[in-house]
């Protein structure tokens, strides 16, 4: 089975379109809910047959849920590694579901249903991981969508629920609401002004946490941070999201302020640094992933500061995702060695920037 992405109306990357609020600072908002189906062992403990029955039960329920009626299902357990990695790079499935995590080999019955901005991962750490993805800073919109989906599915599938502990999950860090809201945010201003340490420390005091571009266990590269709630129990969904909304709103303001300070106090140094980043991306013949992320971070900041006016945030968002290894291999139609990947990445980035180079400068 090969991956046919044309089945997804927006390739599953509508969240990259930079249409949301504060799109130059906040890339995307994601909310996920962890749920389990009553009557089965949790995924890691379940036998293959049980996981397949969970999938069959979910599939039947999905068929009668309005927001998923047009959804596309991909069986991860029937896809080759590059296709699974590609779905992961698009943030449509987790590393664990894609079987790319050394600790969690690919599971029989691992699948994902994808519709416009919505996804249901089946047989992840929990039987169900529902997720809503939106462009920019859009917690309320994402929650409205995921809450409706959750109620619709919960009326058709018996969820594991405990009167005192709430929605039951395999890991005690998800029990209760099962809700994790995360905002993918670009903070080069705070990094360059060295304010970032204080900001990150204050997040932890507020019950929030941060991770890299790909969530749990991923490194921070290119000044991209995912800020999310740390606890899921003892507060309602609205309270958890309100807290995240307030704190991230504050971080956005601090980032905007740091950018103003940079321009005011170090205008030409910053301008030079960012144009050098652009120059490297525009002309380099080989780029590693980390290099590309760091230079893209610079160019993204230059666009935010209006130093470069002809590049769109949408193009930069796409570059971030489409210049990753599995995307490059998919585009070339074959597996690539590391050095071939770096060459293909530089070629892809050059071409994308050439296409928009009209009035740069």
């Amino acid at each position: 089975m090969t991956l046919d992405l044309s089945l997804l109306p927006d390739g599953g990357v509508g969240w990259l379109d930079a249409s949301g609020r504060y799109a130059d600072i906040v890339l995307s908002t994601r909310i996920r809910l962890a749920r389990n189906v009553e009557g089965y062992a949790f995924t890691a403990r379940a036998r293959d047959g049980e996981r397949l029955r969970v999938l069959a039960q979910v599939r039947e329920a999905v068929g009668s849920v309005g927001s998923l009626r047009e959804s596309v299902m991909y069986r991860l357990d029937e896809l080759p590694p590059t296709s699974r990695a590609l779905l992961h790079e698009r943030h449509l499935v987790s590393k664990e579901l894609a079987g790319l995590d050394e600790q969690h080999p690919l599971r029989t019955g691992a699948a994902v249903f994808l519709a416009d901005g919505l996804g249901v991962m089946v047989n992840e750490e929990d039987h169900l991981r529902l997720q809503a993805l939106r462009s920019g800073f859009a917690l309320q919109e994402a929650f409205a969508a995921i809450d409706k989906l959750d109620r619709d599915l919960g009326a058709r599938l018996p969820y594991s629920f405990h009167g005192e502990f709430g929605f039951l999950t395999a890991c005690p860090t998800n029990v209760g609401t099962g809700l994790r809201g995360s905002v993918l945010i670009h903070l080069p201003g705070l990094v360059l002004t060295k304010e970032i340490g204080k900001v990150l420390a204050s997040l932890q005091q507020m019950g929030l946490t941060y991770r890299g571009l790909y969530g749990e266990g991923s490194e921070v590269v290119g000044n991209f941070f995912q800020i999310s709630n740390q606890t899921t129990l003892g507060r309602s969904e609205e309270e958890l999201l309100d807290q995240l909304l307030r704190v991230v709103g504050h971080v956005v303001e601090r980032e905007a302020e740091a950018r103003r300070v940079l321009l005011r106090d170090a205008g030409y140094i910053i301008e030079d640094k960012l144009w050098r980043a652009y120059g490297t991306l525009r002309y380099a013949r080989s780029l590693t992933f980390d290099e590309a992320m760091n230079y893209l971070s610079g160019v993204r900041l230059a666009v935010g500061l209006k130093l470069i006016s002809s590049l769109s945030v949408y193009t930069l968002n796409k570059l971030l995702i489409f210049s990753q290894a599995a995307h490059l291999a998919f585009a070339e139609g074959r597996a690539l060695t590391e050095s071939e990947t770096n060459l293909a990445r530089a070629r892809y980035v050059r071409k994308a920037l050439e296409g928009e180079a009209g009035s740069v400068g």
Partner: protein, 85 residues
Amino acid sequence: MADFRATGRWGCARCYTNFEPGIRELLRRVQGGHRHVGRPYQPQMSEELERASVLGELKDRLRRAIESEQFELAADLRDRIRVME
């Protein structure tokens, strides 16, 4: 419980009731509390389950009606069962 210590993951939903006191303490440490105050959930009966349970009840009443020789009621119940089946 040994499995949980090794993996940090519970095996199934029943673990939460089997190890309730220990879990309460664990959640207090990990989550700062143990009481869910978010959205409540009432597992809804699927149509099929609901139909099966109504049907079961009607058959029960039919048996009692026959035993107590309430034939008119029994005929009525039999009709209702036939429609449902």
